[in-house]
Symmetry: D3
Subunit: 134 residues, 6 copies
């Protein structure tokens, strides 16, 4: 169980309920997942976090499915079970195939490996990597 | 400077040189970056790492540019300067625009934030996120 | 279950029992939590860790409740469930309100986000931040 | 240098300039640090991040100086140089003494140590830590 | 449960079965642990990861038991339960005593502590540590 | 430069000087590295950390050189430059060869990779790994 009481829709303040309604409308779903119910213990954090996520995950220069995969990459690197499971579910829903998940995990694994090799050997950055693209 | 001597092409053993040649041929470049020169201090690690990277980063179910962006996401999360700079350079070369980098960083930032909110509140995973897609 | 046998008070050596007694006396409690029972599998680590914690968490220039909140901040960042839960319990006992926990998590979340933005863009430290206060 | 061009006030768009003006007014300073100049490469991220930080770091149930110290705790745990240096400077300005910094670092160090002991031994959470307060 | 279907030996493709056979032969065991059954959802990752692990963990300049302890050190630092438990089991099988586990955890804990002290204070590397051994 | 003033031997208080003397005597060296000079800004942390390190890194059930390599493994995983460089120097002095460093880094890299694969797929721990030895 969470370290705070989860706030159900029925008992939520109008302020919290407005965020819940927007989550369900934006995502075209009819339920609220535990993450938001926990954040609702601190309404300003609920509102700010939801508005940020809504803006950041919307379609833009990067495809929403790719954004979900980037979310999984970060969450797997940080070892956040909730985030891995919820974003894997979202990515599946958005069309991620088994092959895509396999390749995603392969890249995440290799990146974590080479991050440590580069740091472990304290490899100096090549001059060519230090210039801005024009 | 690195904690090991960087091995230049001219002084490399045939075994190391074969890997360097494959790196340059695969990437259609005419130089070797410091990461590989450091790994060459332990030839089995050089060979194994290069072959893994070559396989993992090749086109497949996920586009190579997306793979580069996933690499940046992991490296930014781990704070590996070498990896951030080298993969940002690769991604730029592969077509990542300023807007794409901006959105990538925004997702990476938010994922790191919500990872800590989910863990910090110890939010329980919703049952709906625990089932395998069929 | 832990990867080592937990040492209960009744079966503890005099050396371990002395630490357990000091923990209970210092904290004014009548039980030992699992963390210490696991460390007791290696008595020097039990003793050294307890003595360090006792010194570090005592009242000083920083208030003990603030210290507990800093502990939660680090534990949430590292994703250590045991530490998050035990220090959240301690902080609650020491007076942390729901609003304080909400603000604490908000700061922890934002810090993790901006840490990745600063690293992801490899932002150079401003000269003004490089001088020592006098 | 950063991986994106830093946007100076003189060349900023009205949208970016409005954020810069708000930063300077809120913090009662007359300059913009590099972090914001880098975020300005993606104006929506600049605006969203600044508004979040302004809300989160304001006085509330937790004192602003304590919030700065929590920021340092997270940044030291993640090893983000920019964030450590900029928030150490802010905390000093807000009154953090040498003794407070010493105790802060001591808590951060111990928390990182015991996080790994708890995880390394896979210590099971005590039932008493699993209940919500009250 | 995992986010992918675990592939049992009986239902595995010849390609996956060949890897499973090699794992059992190399380790002189008659079962396959869940990690490999999960990787089998993406056969190229299964094959590549197993071949890398086999090469890296074999006896060489470092003793296999020491390699297992290094694996535990990394896994405890990253907080990966699966990895901590499976490599603690392997290390025990290879002869790690309680005293060795105790000292290992003590070093891991202290390293995580001093890593944060060094980063938190942004201690400059001494010139003497910057030279290569000759 | 560090965020605190480094305390040189000549200006140190008797309390700090006693620790410096013990460091030099224990390690049979005639200089103090910057890490301790930074910790000296908070004498209780200097004393406690040094005494812990002295106890933990001494010969015991694990060889001192192996302990140094474990220290490098943790530091490379956390990306702490100071710690990587200082402990690589110590390990070299204690006899670590190029081949040993190469194998150490290879294990560290693979462990970081498989940690993310295990977490990313949320692999369930096998029952056989959940029992205590004996």
């Amino acid at each position: 169980m969470a370290t705070v009481k989860l706030i159900e829709y029925g008992e939520a303040s109008p302020e919290v309920r407005a965020v819940y309604d927007d989550i369900m409308a934006t995502r075209k779903i009819d339920w609220i997942n535990n993450f938001w119910k926990a954040l609702a213990s601190h309404p300003p954090t609920l509102k700010r976090t939801w508005e940020s996520i809504k803006e950041v995950m919307a379609a833009g220069a990067i495809d929403p499915l790719v954004k979900e995969m980037i979310y999984i990459a970060v969450s797997a690197t940080n070892g956040c079970e909730y985030c891995i499971r919820s974003h894997t579910a979202s990515a599946r829903k958005a069309g991620m195939t088994d092959a895509m998940l396999g390749e995603l995990m392969a890249v995440v694994g290799m990146a974590n490996e080479t991050n440590r090799l580069a740091n472990g050997y304290q490899v100096e950055v090549d001059t060519r990597f230090m210039t801005l693209p024009r």
